[in-house]
Amino acid sequence: MNQASQATLARARDANLDWRELATRYRVLLVSAFLLAFPLVMPFTALAINILIYGLYALGFNLLFGYLGLLSFGHAALLGAGAYFCGIAIVHFGMPWFAAIAIGVLGGVITAAAIGALATRTRGIYFAMVTLALSQCVYYLFYQAVDWTGGENGLRGINVREIGIFGISFDFINPMTRYYVVAGFVILALIVLSRILASPFGAVIEAVRENEERARASGYNVTLVRLITFILSGAFCGLAGALYALQLSTVPIEIMHYETSGLAVMMCLLGGMGTFFGPFVGAAVFLMLENLVSLWTVHWQLIVGAVFMICVLFFPRGIWGTLTMRGKS
């Protein structure tokens, strides 16, 4: 075979590259472009921002559930810790917004380290239950620390009127400013996640999920891999929590309720677990569905529950997973 025909073949192969592979190759770029235009198609801006925040939360959860295969029912504690740490930094210590977000991420990391250190000793369904139990304990801790968290009344007064970025001051009351700031952090998180998955550690995560025994035999410390992944997951959730606090300017205790943990599972499964965009698709579909149906009937939970069941029964790969897998198998 000569050179020319080889080149033709390569070109033919390129043409055969379907949109899915292209989407995967340019995923960060694609998402960034989409996020810029996103609020224009949403019924209201606060919903668009919520989708980003919950998408990020589900993304953090997905790292553990989708990529490592550990089902956690305690992620509300990580999201909540991020929100409370960020809020407390602003309300009680008067920190600037940027530092407060960093503190929020730290909150997610610390809580994940504490829960993870204990929970990663168990496996399977017990892991889910231990994370649930420990997150309830964290809930209680924040509930009782009324002086710091406001208890059941919630933490109020996270009022950031304007923010400075590179010396330029922006009006943070303006919903579009808030959206683009949040979107900026989400893009940053996507880049980081992309790097993690492409790194050698990403390969180890996959190895542990595929066959724990073999990974162990290959000399990997499986428990440690789990713990590190749990902590990384906590960092993403903590960031989501911090953004939540800034967006709503309050942190309600309900953020730590186990229903919030269930929300991550639902969104992740709806979108497609173990897929890169799945969590965002799941968050978007879930929240838009909830918003749409709850304007129409107070019985929105019936529709949401039914849609969820249909997804489990007929689209186990989730919406994004089904879209990208069609024709491949």
Binding site: L71, R123, G124, I125, Q136, H299, Q301, V304, G305, V307
Partner: protein, 294 residues
Amino acid sequence: MAGLTLDLIALQLFTGVALGAVYVLLAIGLSLIFGMLTVVNFAHGAFYMLGAYAGLFLMTQGVNFWVCLLLVPLLVGGIGLAVERVLIRPLYGRGIDYPLLLTFGLSYVIVELVRIGFGKTGYPVDTPELLQGAVDIGVGYFPLYRLFVIGATAVILFGLWLFLERTSFGLIIRAGARDPEIIRVLGVNVRRVWLVVFGLGTGIAALAGLLAAPLQGVIPEMGGPVLAEAFVVTVVGGMGSLLGAVLAGLLVGIVVSITSLFAPEMAKVSIFALMAVVLLVRPQGFFGRAGLMS
């Protein structure tokens, strides 16, 4: 602490046992279903609630409480059979997460359907006339109905024990809980066994709901908190272990009631703290098999 007497502690223990009785009934159904089908039934609380509402409905139709005790588990257990057959069966072999998530969605649907049918506000359920009032149990007065709940639970457990130990179907269930492969090899129709077990578990949950109704009234959301507590009991006892469910149920009841005596605001978190401690010391619970479902 003022007024803390031995009588009070004894009474408190008794209250804990009554409280634990409801946990036991819920947990035993959960454990049965998990042990056989490896399905973590998140709709168990919804079936519990359905039991309470079915009882309420029948009683407003003039059916008396004692007949309800028989009818309600049959009725709700029947719904359970349909759920297993139609919704859960397609998911066997797809891993533990899918049935769990399906029942999670199902619980939303059931609760909302009840809201549509019976309204968002709850209803009071009167204690059956025979069981009203309180009796002196030596350490203080205790509501008669709560004594009845303890007794009824004991009877149900005894019945279940007879069924499992003395019937051939029970033998299959016990064997299946230990190793589903074996009974399949022996030519038993496993699917039929699974169907019956799911119906049995949900029926017992409904009975627990019916028993709880006169204590606290009924409301569509009543299954939520109780499900979390029942999970704790199941996990502490060891998933799949019936004896574990009974002992852990009573233990959790007593822990809650004793915590209530010394630090009532911690009553709820004490359940979860207990679970965290037990699992960290003994990851498979009291009687669970190590390595199960990992």
